[in-house]
């Protein structure tokens, strides 16, 4: 009970809090009861509808696991292809040459402004009209194409933020010992930036995993979400049960990725050997939303940085931000 927003609680405040807790609890119960009634009336709570997931492995081996496998394959492929592309564009945006910097910026900003679904629909039509990719493979190709185009541009911004988050002394020291620009980038800045970016990259993986579901819903890609659809028609309209199982799998998968990213971020911040520069999960959300020229991208990052020092900062600065957060 130590928050700056409210006083330490005396007897009256304690009584009021207990009252509020009881009222809120009653409201939650009422909501749960309403949901339960609704489900019960429509027969969605019958054991027959939930049985496939708890007894026997058929539902898992025929529908859920293959779907999950496709989701993970699409996500992994997109990440593996988008990462080097993103690195190239991210570094290109930091180039000293205008004719490299500006085109890279235009490409990155363009693809960040367009919804992934539009890119995926474009992909499907592209492969069916201009290539000989079989119609079975097309959805996967289209999903990966859409995800790569979008995420490469987001990763480009993450790479850029990672390099910019490094202390200036690193570049200066590299220049002082006579390294060329390329050498400075490849042997001094990039290795440290990659470490700093790791939490943001893992967070971006969560976004990719979530976006693969678009392929399942719109492009007939046989992913985890579409397996819910198939199951609910196969097991007798157990829509609620199928969606619950699929949603829980997504939550567990993404929550572990998010937690892993948070753990990495904390470890990097506390690490004695590192420079303390970290591009965290918040940076990803800022970058994912911003869709305009470089200035806005950096103000987005700086917006979090100046207040809470989440995007970048020395271990000391992030330490104080940590206490601020604990206080409020």
């Amino acid at each position: 009970m130590s928050s700056v927003l409210y006083d330490a609680q005396g007897p009256r405040a304690k009584r009021r809090n207990i009252l509020l807790t009881v009222v809120f609890f009653a409201l939650l119960l009422a909501l749960l009861w309403w949901v339960y009634q609704g489900l019960n009336d429509k027969g969605q709570l019958e054991w027959a509808k939930w049985k496939p997931f708890f007894s026997g492995s058929e539902a898992w081996t025929t529908y859920i696991l293959p779907g999950l496998k496709n989701t993970l394959i699409a996500a992994a492929l997109s990440m593996v292809i988008a990462l080097p592309l993103g690195a190239v564009f991210g570094i290109a945006r930091l180039s000293d040459h205008v004719w490299v910097r500006v085109p890279a910026a235009i490409v990155v900003e363009f693809f960040r402004a367009i919804p992934v679904l539009i890119l995926m629909i474009f992909g499907v039509a592209l492969y069916s009209q201009y290539t000989s990719v079989s119609s079975d493979d097309r959805p996967l190709y289209a999903v990966v194409t859409g995800l790569v185009l979008y995420n490469a541009s987001v990763l480009a911004e993450i790479v850029r933020a990672g390099i910019l988050a490094l202390p200036k002394g690193q570049t200066e020291a590299a220049q002082a010992i006579g390294l060329r620009k390329t050498q400075t980038m490849t042997s001094v800045l990039l290795p440290q930036a990659v470490t700093a970016m790791l939490p943001a990259i893992v967070s971006q993986l969560v976004v990719i995993v979530k976006d693969t579901a678009l392929g399942g819903a719109v492009l007939t890609f046989p992913d985890l979400l579409s397996s819910a659809n198939t199951m609910s028609s196969y097991y007798g309209a157990n829509t609620i049960a199928s969606f619950t199982v699929v949603a829980v799998i997504f939550i567990v998968l993404n929550f572990s990725l998010t937690s892993f990213a948070g753990w990495l971020e904390g470890r990097l911040r506390r690490g004695k050997k590192s420079t303390g520069a970290v591009v965290g999960a918040e940076a990803v959300e800022d970058i994912a939303g911003t869709a305009h020229t470089g200035a806005a991208g950096t103000t987005g990052a700086a917006g979090t940085a100046d207040g809470t020092a989440k995007t970048s900062g020395t271990p000391g600065a992030s330490g104080t931000s940590g206490t601020d957060k604990a206080a409020l």
């Binding site: 402004a113 474009f122 609620i240 993404n254 305009h292």
Partner: protein, 221 residues
Amino acid sequence: MFDFLEGYDLLGAFWVTIKLTLLSAVGSLIWGTVLAALRVGPVPLMRGFGTAYVNIVRNIPLTVIILFTSLGLNQTLGISLGAHGFSHINFRLAVLGLIVYTSAFVCEAVRSGINTVPVGQAEAARAIGLNFTQVLRLVVLPQAFRSVVGPLTNVLIALTKNTTVAAAIGVAEAAALMKDMVENEAQLLLISAIFAFGFVVLTLPTGLILGWVGKKVAVKR
């Protein structure tokens, strides 16, 4: 060159996108702020609820939520949100799904804004005898909102792009029209360029204008 556009309601589709965006934006701003208030409040159960809500909703794909509103809420449980007719019902369901999803991100943005308000502000407010709701309503939130215009703009732009997911339940917005057009017309690159341009037009001014507003209203410290 643009002959193939005849018979397609391009502006109408983008108008649906805009309506989806605005309605969901208002809804998720309200619900997200309430969630943020729950998360920083003195009642442990409310804090727990807020945290659980954000962690669960943020980790489910929006597509799953939107599809569930149609297949689960509407077709299985018969909830139609007071609308009649397929397109009206699905429009409202899409708005509901977008609000449920986006408010988790609004909540986190507002909470990060609350963290940027100096501790002294809240302490001073308490020192003059304000209680928790007054501290939040009169002192902390007004300052917090000024500092989160940037992050909230990012959420709004992401929301604009996310409205395309409503195509999954048959709402006739831009992505649904594009899917229709690329299947029936030959000019793939031109069609894609038109839709890409449409979204750039929607998101670019939002970012620029709100970016300017954000700088204007920021609390100088």
